[in-house]
Symmetry: C2
Subunit: 105 residues, 2 copies
Amino acid sequence: MIANLLADLPDASAGEVFTELLERPGIRIERIVSRGQSTPEDEPMVQDWDEWVLLLEGAAGIRIEDSAVVALAPGDHLLIEKGQKHWVAWTAKDRATVWLAVHLG
Amino acid sequence: MIANLLADLPDASAGEVFTELLERPGIRIERIVSRGQSTPEDEPMVQDWDEWVLLLEGAAGIRIEDSAVVALAPGDHLLIEKGQKHWVAWTAKDRATVWLAVHLG
């Protein structure tokens, strides 16, 4: 079965849309579609597992712990380690931003 | 550390280029860059683990077991199950084709 991650994107204006693509013991692959959302400064995301993230489309800024905000373009990928506070500082407001997230463990 | 999967692509004219992005027990994420390669008809690929594949850029045709060749465009993804014979029937000759492969187990 072939499916496409970038076609017929859901409208994420009212909230990010999470779509699970694959789940196995110790691994979960999901697509996240954002449109203008950001993480509140006083509510950083923190996870109890490592997460590998790849930006597929759109644009976003991400901040990890005390580092500066880094702008992400399609193809950019990074590992967010277990326990690291992180914020999506911004996502493009005028179009969808599509992330692939691989949750490890 | 931010890296980009689509920038400064290696020249794969002389052979596919495999780049490991992440390895953990039970999971390995790699980028594969192809340019015109295909799998010989009499040498199908078969793996002892499931593989989730996402086409990021370029174009390719894939065949699994006895099914017809299916053309893949950016964003297309599929699961190749353990033990399934599969062939990359073709990849674009005029530009790079970039795959993300997640090997499970």
